[in-house]
Symmetry: C2
Subunit: 337 residues, 2 copies
């Protein structure tokens, strides 16, 4: 019925300019009449800061106006968009891979590092530092192409379950942040993930879960070696990290990949301190926001002493840098979808 109406309208050549104008104007009206875009955010100063910021940078002719091409918003992933306790999900994935591959690798039993991995002994692994973890990561992805790795990661993400909630990890994402991502995109922002995690692990679910396309995910990378096999070009993931997109690496990753300084940044730990600074030190109106985990009942409560997602310096400096600190307990009406 609507289809027929429009077809008839379009057939009348004089109606076309009016139709085109209507198409340009109507979505804004529909959006304005739509329900609250942030229903899981309680009416607190954090919610108002978000709405005020978006209104300021999208008001044409206003002093803080930012054209759509410069509306770049960056989001940390672990602890900002989804749960990172008791350990980063990507580490759980890696240990599951190691366990699955152990029967084909009997030599691993003689190596304390691999024994700890197979036993899920995260404390011993953490004591071994980054070097040990990278050795494991390399062993867990032998000679894969990025496409193969992503397929393996996606299969795991579809089947693995978090022990506390019994849910797929990809459901342990924060509903208020999903609403925020959608709201910013509706307001002309490009939303990016800037994660310390491996870029391909995040790309395996970013589109389906966050609505963020693969090319808008920035992350740590393993070296890729080009080659040829069976008359086809190959790319092989090496067990060697060639870029760490964490801490001071986040502004580097942003500059290389996105190419311009964001106007809004969202993080939850000191690993995001550089990214928050890089974003909010730019000229004009900016927004920096920290998700603080203070809800042991509905999620987790941790900050300065945590083994993952440590939040100390960024929290101390938030007032002077005018970063908003979100209380999950106080500011969010619900946590998960």
């Amino acid at each position: 019925m609507a289809h027929e109406t429009i077809t008839r309208l379009a057939a009348q050549r004089r109606a076309l300019p009016a139709l085109a104008a209507a198409l340009a104007v109507a979505p804004r009206i529909v959006a304005a009449q739509a329900a609250d875009p942030l229903p899981s955010w309680r009416d607190t100063p954090r919610r108002r800061a978000l709405l005020d910021f978006v209104a300021a940078v999208t008001t044409e002719g206003g002093p803080d106006y930012v054209p759509p091409a410069a509306r770049i918003a960056v989001f940390d992933n672990d602890g900002t968009l989804w749960v990172e306790q008791p350990v980063y999900t990507q580490l759980t994935f890696m240990l599951d891979r190691i366990r699955a591959m152990a029967p084909q690798n009997p030599g691993w039993a003689a190596d304390p590092l691999f024994r700890a991995a197979i036993a899920g002994d995260v404390r011993t692994l953490a004591a071994g530092g980054a070097e040990g973890l990278l050795k494991l990561a390399g062993a867990a992805q032998p000679g894969n192409t990025p496409e193969e790795f992503r397929r393996i990661a996606a299969e795991w993400q579809a089947t693995a379950r978090d022990p506390r909630w019994g849910q797929p990890y990809t459901r342990l994402v924060y509903q208020p942040m999903l609403e925020l991502l959608a709201y910013l995109r509706a307001k002309g922002f490009d939303t990016f993930i800037v994660s310390g995690g491996g870029v391909e692990f995040v790309r395996a679910f970013s589109q389906d879960v966050y609505g963020i396309p693969m090319h808008q995910v920035v992350g740590s990378t393993f070296a890729l070696t080009p080659g040829e096999a069976d008359g086809r070009i190959t790319l092989t993931r090496e067990p060697r990290v060639d870029f760490i997109d964490d801490g001071p690496g986040k502004p580097v990753g942003i500059a290389r990949h996105i190419g311009q300084r964001p106007v809004a940044a969202f993080g939850n730990s000191d690993g995001d301190w550089h990214m928050l600074r890089y974003t909010t030190e730019g000229p004009g109106r900016r927004l920096g926001m920290i998700v603080r985990h203070d809800d042991a009942e509905r999620e987790y409560a941790y900050d300065r002493e945590s083994h993952v997602g440590r939040l100390s310096r960024a929290l101390d400096e938030a007032p002077q840098r005018r970063w908003q600190v979100v209380s999950m307990r106080g500011d969010w009406a619900r946590i998960f979808p």
Copy 2:
């Protein structure tokens, strides 16, 4: 008037679902009635190959359907989207910078490399190889941030003139390719530049000239060093190339930055051979297309023996790999906007 009509419609709550349906349907009808999307492409097999490919991958339910999230099209820049003769524009820019900075660097006069640069002696520079060019590139951008470099590049692009046409270099872009970029985007593709040139030089004009946002430009990169000055985070471009996005580097750049294999690739030289292969070796319907410079009158004619944009192997293999070879002379009704 249209505004008022829609406001009235929107005020009637019962009209909203019909309006939403109209908004979803109407743009397709308008597009179908619009003029030819490729007016500068003559009606030849190349134009038909483009239209057939797009129709095939966008037909829902068809055997070659590609969902929008996977509609990735990649374009080389020099010689594919704009003129690369008599030398790459970025080299001209670099030599202009060296000349402008020479009075402040009297020591350069004693260095044969810099003397050749100041004299615009491209043959001597070419004989010095990549090492010499990189030394010059480093000298031409001392300690800049990416933002400073892009501002300098944009100023140059706005003022410098090509000697043959007396035009800004950013006007020496190929009108048929501008139409193709817009057409693909209208059909749900994401368009990317994958250039051997420095990424920030291309980002300085990609949005204005090609409608391609900065984050959809992949290119060669100089090392970026994070630091701090005057209480602010800094990023410094080092005179050290850390990624060469050319030849075998193009599939690597695509995998890292875009994260998935394109379905369509456009190039003009053997530097694009790997990218064309990587794209067209993927499963399902693919399109590889080579722009051949065979129009000395309206642009340039060159291929196997050229000092820039050498086209030999990719041309020889085009038939067996089913790559389309565009004749600028025969297939394009006009060259420049």
